[in-house]
Symmetry: C2
Subunit: 223 residues, 2 copies
């Protein structure tokens, strides 16, 4: 029981990306389903994703959930506010993380390069969140799903002649809670995109963008 504690099962690599080792922990692996932190926890570490996929969420008392962000390789999660985590975070697939001491962000003495890197990451985070506001507040279901697929294609897609293919490791529920729609709407929208020949669904967790131009148009409201 109480199973969702972080399950560290080995170290993965040992080359810190930044000079000041003192502020960087040993790389950590978390199994799919394992949690990194919960809302209200004191922040000791931030985490830079090296491989895998994290899910950052926030819950309402009545169970409604919003996926705040997905943590793809390169992303940093766990920025504190008043020293506390204000979201939950868990791994959707086995993931490898580089922990970074909170103090490297907040005081940063002795590791100016790392401090700078974290600060810039936080500022990029603000900007990315502003984009997502537009998504949640002003886009239709089709535009939301199309935008989401577009971003993923750009971020983790592999070009195969004219089309772009990528893994969609999270569940439909996660996509829905990220986009502020229901699972059913995500399904229907994907079906609609498939039937109109914009994408093909290779299998549940693999999408191929057949017509990137059409997808882009849909994501911006072009019919």
């Amino acid at each position: 029981m109480y199973v969702t504690l972080p399950t560290e099962f080995s170290n993965c690599e040992t080359t810190p990306t930044f000079a000041e080792m003192r502020h960087i922990g040993q790389d950590t692996r978390v199994r799919a389903g394992g949690s990194l932190f919960f809302e209200g926890d004191e922040v000791e570490w931030l985490y830079q994703v090296k491989s895998g996929l994290l899910r950052v969420t926030r819950m309402l008392e009545d169970g409604r959930r919003q996926v705040i962000a997905f943590g793809f390789p390169g992303d940093i999660v766990g920025f504190p506010s008043n020293g506390l985590h204000n979201t939950d975070c868990d791994a959707l697939v086995d993931s490898c993380l580089q922990p970074i001491r909170r103090s490297a962000l907040e005081s940063g003495e002795g590791a100016p390069e790392l401090h700078q890197h974290l600060l810039q990451a936080a500022l990029r985070e603000i900007s990315a969140m502003q984009d997502h506001f537009m998504m949640l507040g002003r886009k239709s279901a089709v535009e939301k799903v199309a935008s989401f697929l577009g971003v993923l294609a750009q971020r983790v897609g592999k070009k195969i002649d004219g089309s772009i293919q990528f893994e969609l490791p999270m569940q439909r529920t996660d996509v829905a809670d990220f986009l502020g729609v229901t699972t059913e709407t995500v399904c229907r929208t994907l079906t609609q995109l498939r039937k109109s020949g914009v994408i093909s669904i290779e299998n549940i967790h693999t999408i191929k963008i057949l017509r990137p131009d059409a997808l882009l148009a849909l994501s911006e409201g072009g019919d």
Copy 2:
């Protein structure tokens, strides 16, 4: 023509809140309707609101607009991403601002106290935006409006016996674009709250919360 440039019409005060004057500009006044910056502008200054009200927005090509945030006294607006503004910002009423050099945030050498203050403000901003995700993605129109009024009451409300009164200086359109609904929905919801005796609308820009407890319940999904 080209009228929306910042209209500075005087200095207002001269007591910098932080030690290192070098990084702090003279207090600046902006008239209602004046713009502080536009999306894509190079960031030279951040602004801490001393009085008045700012509106931070982002636009889609087709004209759809999302109000990212309102800048109330105490708030800091204008965090850069890659050195650029990624939103527009203008003043809704005559406002007084304290400009702070971007370098105070990003390099901060010589003014560690100010740097720290700005960093913490950025981190609080991230947390506040996460809350707003829930608002945009998962709350109904009534919950959105009730939450919004609740926050304003807490932030700028004045207690008058059992009720809380405050100014709502922005237009209905701004509230709508902030909450991700239409103006009509904002109006109808306010009317509904008024008719059910939760609020009274003293005049278009003045709201009185008659039953704070009921408003709170509505903002969390309680019927």
